[in-house]
Amino acid sequence: MIRQLTASLEFHGQSLLLRAERQRLIASNIANADTPGYKARDFNFADALRTATGSAGPGEGIAAGVMSPGGRLRPDLRHALASQVHLDSNTVDMDRERASFADNAVKYESTLRFINGSVRTVLDAMKSPGQP
């Protein structure tokens, strides 16, 4: 019973971990914007989440019960192509990295709100009828 209550929490937990991982990756790209020869990296969030949770979306995976709690998240990293080539073969596209960083931060925060909502729902369900 409690497993069903916290299943959606697990999905969002995995999603939050991946968001944190991506945030760190983009921070590394921004930090190395002036390093000669550095290749910018990123990963496909949808694919990584699908691999991490073994599902196509929050509904399906939970119903099938294929989520693995504590499974290692290892998104496969790809090299990003620069829209403009630098002479020092650095491929960090600052505009794109800034946009991805802001986008990822907003999505991290929304995942946090989903988690907060689920936690509140579970807590409400655990309250006895008489309790305010």
């Binding site: 939050l16 921070a27 930090a31 002036d34 390093t35 000669p36 990296r41 802001a102 988690i115 907060n116």
Partner: protein
Amino acid sequence: MSMLRIFDVAGSAVSAQSQRLNVVASNLANADTVAGPDGSAYKARQVVFQTVMLGRRQGADDPASAGVTVSTVTESQAPGRRVHDPRHPSADAEGYVTYSNVSPVEEMVNMISASRSYQNNIEVMNTARSLLLKTLQVGQ
């Protein structure tokens, strides 16, 4: 808490960029230095950045925490600016004074680039900080 590593990454970048700003400041300060008795004037310096891996995961370098460090500081080997001024106390036998090889325009561009990168990394740290503080409030 992989987000905490962002402070290491952005912090290393901020420190590298501030070292670059320091070098630009020395170059600009010495833009009009003349050659001493040994005949060699101040040479413009440049920092060289290098990626440094800050984290390890499962025995291998974690590509997601790539910081920056200044590997070397190189000196420009371009010839210094020579000006004909026989009455200058540092003039050589032919009446030429050798100034440093600093190009103020290049240094100003370098300074703007360094300060923008510095700002970018500070912003990364601010965003990570606010996200972490919000993460701490989960369930409250």
